[in-house]
């Protein structure tokens, strides 16, 4: 009986040649960055960068760009396959770029495939490109001096300081949530380099065309999450600048009376260190306080302006609606949305200078 069992097992193992689809590592082209642009007439154009193994001993990877036109993403992939020696696979996709025009028409249809596909990870970065996405994608293979995928490393590095932490999961979270609107990084090409232009603002899944410039990205980050790094340049007056480094920043949202008469107060506590001063004498403690007060005033004004801008455009990237929902019973979503532009939102900023570097 045992031998029979063994034979049956072996036979069934061997008969499974009609079974599993192999994806041997060197027989596939791994897509790293893909970009989609509006190609008019309900069509999109997909451009993809793949890494190609080079013969020889050094671990060099060449990169190739392929592009194709089609109605939807998977069909574009199919069209691209018409040109490639090996199938393109998306399991290791790091960044997806969307052209400005495409983004302003609504991204839901195009993100949906990444939501469903089990091969895609949740740490995929999404970004909008000022102009056409294919420009950035085509630039990628030229930047091979530094390791890694340029765009991904670019975004990742900046998330620590000036970009909010946005990946596929957060985007989906924001898209589905009723009281939140997503944000995405905005990229552009300058000369022969790729640059972060700012933070693109969305209403649900449409890019509204407005963005927060890169320098102010720090302020947005301060408003939306707790984080530990980053620096900001404060302008006192013409030709008078100071640079403060954030050591730790925390934010709390206080929402009261959400259903009838909502009031929001955003409380930001920042511990900062001063590393570049021009004009002030830090020897006396009085001066330090003065700097604190002035910084609070200057930055506070800017933060308030930013929040007002959000309200005017009917977008809520700070997830205030979501916070309100979690604190009130029987939250009235409609009422919140209607009164959103008129809700008094107050930003309360408190900066504490704790260090001045190693010199006085």
């Amino acid at each position: 009986m045992k031998i029979k069992l063994l034979l049956i097992t072996l036979a069934s193992f061997l008969m499974t040649a009609c079974g599993v689809e192999k994806q041997i590592l060197e027989d596939i082209l791994i897509a790293e960055v893909v970009g989609y642009d509006d190609a008019g007439d309900k069509k999109i154009k997909g451009t993809v960068v793949v890494s190609v193994p080079q013969p020889g001993e050094e671990a060099d990877l060449g990169k190739e760009v392929y592009e194709a036109d089609s109605h939807d993403i998977k069909a574009a992939r199919q069209q691209e396959n018409a040109k490639t020696p090996y199938p393109i696979v998306g399991g290791r996709l790091t960044v997806t770029l969307y052209g400005e025009e495409l983004a302003s028409k609504g991204l839901n249809d195009y993100v949906d495939t990444y939501r469903r596909d089990p091969m895609v990870g949740r740490d995929l970065y999404l970004a909008v490109v000022h102009g056409k996405a294919e420009d950035v994608v085509k630039m990628e293979p030229k930047l091979i001096k530094t390791p890694g995928v340029q765009v991904k490393e670019l975004i990742e590095q900046n998330i620590r300081t000036n970009l909010p932490d946005v990946d596929l999961h957060r985007y989906l979270y924001a898209c589905h949530g009723n009281g939140i609107d997503p944000v995405l990084p905005l990229l552009e090409t300058t000369g022969n380099q790729i640059r972060v232009r700012g933070i693109a603002l969305f209403k649900k899944d449409r890019y509204i065309g407005k963005y927060i410039p890169y320098e102010e990205g720090f302020l947005y980050k301060v408003l939306s999450e707790n984080f530990k790094l980053g620096s900001y340049e404060i302008k006192w007056k013409e030709n008078d600048f100071t640079d403060i480094n954030n050591v730790e920043s925390r934010v709390h949202y206080h929402i009261s009376n959400a259903n009838q008469d909502p009031k929001v107060r955003i409380e930001v506590k920042m511990k900062a260190s001063l590393l570049e001063v021009q004009g002030y004498d830090l020897g006396k403690a009085v001066d330090l306080n003065k700097i604190e007060v002035r910084a609070e005033r200057v930055i506070g004004k800017k933060l308030n302006e930013m929040v007002t801008m959000f309200q005017e455009n009917h977008i809520d990237p700070l997830a205030l609606g979501d916070h309100a929902k979690s604190k009130t019973r029987n939250f009235d979503q409609k009422h919140w949305e209607e009164t959103y532009p008129d809700i008094p939102i107050e930003v309360d900023l408190d900066i504490e200078m704790i260090q001045t570097g190693i010199a006085e």
Binding site: F13, G19, Q23, I24, L25, I28, I30, P53, Q54, R92
Partner: protein
């Protein structure tokens, strides 16, 4: 467990006296040229016959001939009283005569064609000197190993356990070889049922020649088709003494320098006797390292094959370029590459065992370095896999017991095939198959996966971790000993006064 179903009335190693009567037996003896027959002291004296190759001539001269030479010829019975040797036998039984003469006794007849003989044992045994253990070498600890002679081995063990409870029962196995086999145990500690099982199985052995204890091991083991050894063998008398006092049973065979020990569990895969010679934290760490080494050795090339063939998404981004470029030039799929490399390593291993010492080291260097490098440069195999396979081979040698390292070598191949068929899921399926086998395995009746299953928390003290001796008060539970306590009295706690209390 009987190999062939023979007749029950014959005891173990029963042999047939193939000669019908004494004359025929004597004729058979005389057919060999090393069988000497002469009359002593003169033509009318006793007829002395013996196998020259088996008898110690010195004893013959000094103890027997010297006595006989200055006395008149007596009846054999009286002669027996004169000769100062032990265990002499006066018999006409063919069985006894055949057995004793072939074991090295001298046969004395009163006169020619007499059927009654006096048999005097004058055994000349050629034995090896006690030397260092080959496979269980330890840096600290005794360097004595068993030799081929059963009596010397018993000597070594009895010296270490001078207690009357250490009992040895002897049997003979093999119808032609009639090899002596001894079962050792400590009465009062060992489980009586285990002893009975072992003795029963030994008595059921039916085979013509038993030359090594591994034959015995294969015949009395619980599951004959399993790759996992259920009875471990050891070369060291101190190891044997130690496990006997735990409650295990030892089996020794005349002519084999190894002793079998049972019952065992899977923990014996990872524990070496040397762990006990070191501080318990060191011993524990080494056991854990061995566990990791075994897992790595078995799973590394299957994982490589599985990930590269099906699951490229698992590889971290920074590792991708290295792997892709190392595999880019290779014409074979990963599975073929892995099988070729594993096959080469197996060839190297087999060759290294059989090469004479002088040529061996050169071939090792040539095989290992030159062939490996050349293969990588030719683009035949990838350097990543070469490194993995070499490390895995090295890791498989960390296992202290030789039989188990053989098992590990071979278990890798089903995993490789499973990885090729179903990737990571295939590896999981293969492990489940092996687990199903292990769960059913018993070693002399006690479950093989103890202490993992049945979960015996107490036995964990000496499994993958080794707690200090003071914590091992009881003997392992799976042995079901009759006397579980090892330490009678708690050691007194030493009162150390700390500085801070002053």
């Amino acid at each position: 467990m009987r190999l062939f179903k023979g007749k029950r009335e014959m005891d173990s190693g029963s042999f047939q006296v193939t000669s019908k009567d004494f004359q025929e037996l004597l004729k058979k003896f005389k057919a060999s040229d090393d069988f000497l027959t002469f009359q002593f002291p003169n033509d009318d004296g006793y007829i002395i016959s013996y196998f020259n190759s088996l008898v110690s001539v010195q004893q013959l001269h000094e103890q027997v001939l010297a006595v006989m030479s200055n006395q008149p010829k007596k009846v054999l019975k009286q002669l027996k009283g004169d000769i100062p040797m032990e265990d002499m036998k006066l018999t006409a039984d063919l069985k006894d005569i055949q057995r004793l003469v072939l074991a090295g006794s001298i046969m004395i007849q009163y006169k020619q064609d007499d059927e009654m003989c006096l048999l005097i044992p004058c055994v000349h045994s050629v034995k090896r000197q006690i030397s260092t253990p080959e496979s269980e070498y330890t840096v600290v600890g005794s360097k004595e190993a068993f030799v081929e002679s059963l009596d010397s081995n018993l000597n070594l063990v009895r010296n270490r356990l001078p207690t009357p409870e250490l009992q040895s029962k002897e049997f003979r196995v093999g119808s032609i070889s009639q090899t002596r086999i001894a079962v050792l145990y400590i009465d009062g500690v060992v489980n009586q049922q285990n002893i009975n099982t072992v003795i029963q199985r030994i008595e059921d052995i039916e085979y013509d020649t038993i030359v090594d204890i591994s034959f015995v091991s294969q015949m009395i083991t619980d599951n004959r088709n399993s790759m996992f050894p259920q009875l471990i063998d050891t070369e060291r008398p101190d190891h044997l003494a130690s496990v006997l006092s735990e409650g295990k049973i030892g089996i020794m065979l005349d002519g084999s320098p190894h002793a079998l020990v049972g019952p065992n569990t899977i923990i014996s895969f990872f524990s070496s006797f040397e762990d006990y010679f070191q501080i318990w934290n060191l011993g524990t760490s080494f056991r854990l390292i061995r566990l990791f080494a075994v897992l790595f050795s078995v799973l590394s090339s299957p994982l490589y094959v599985a990930v590269l063939t099906y699951h490229y998404q698992v590889i971290p981004t920074d590792l991708l370029p290295i792997l892709i470029s190392s595999r880019g030039v290779i014409p074979f799929p990963p599975i073929l590459e892995a099988i070729v490399l594993e096959g080469t390593i197996e060839l190297l291993r087999e060759a290294a065992v059989r090469l004479p010492a002088k040529v061996g080291s050169t071939i090792g260097i040539v095989g290992g370095i030159v062939i490996g490098t050349a293969a990588v440069e030719a683009g035949f195999v990838s350097n990543v896999l070469l490194m993995l396979v070499a490390l895995a081979a090295l890791a498989s040698f960390t296992v202290p017991i030789y039989q188990i390292s053989n098992t590990i070598r071979l278990i890798r191949f089903p995993f490789l095939i499973a990885a090729q068929l179903y990737g990571l899921f295939g590896i999981a399926l293969c492990s489940a198959f092996i687990l199903s086998h292990l769960l059913k395995l018993t070693s002399l009746g006690s479950p093989y996966l103890d202490p993992l299953y049945p979960l015996r928390i107490h036995d964990f003290k000496d499994s993958l971790i080794r707690l200090p001796f003071s914590k091992q008060k009881k003997r392992p539970q799976f042995l079901r000993t009759e006397n579980p306590l090892r330490i009678r009295k708690e050691a007194e706690k030493r009162n150390i006064r700390n500085d801070i209390d002053e």
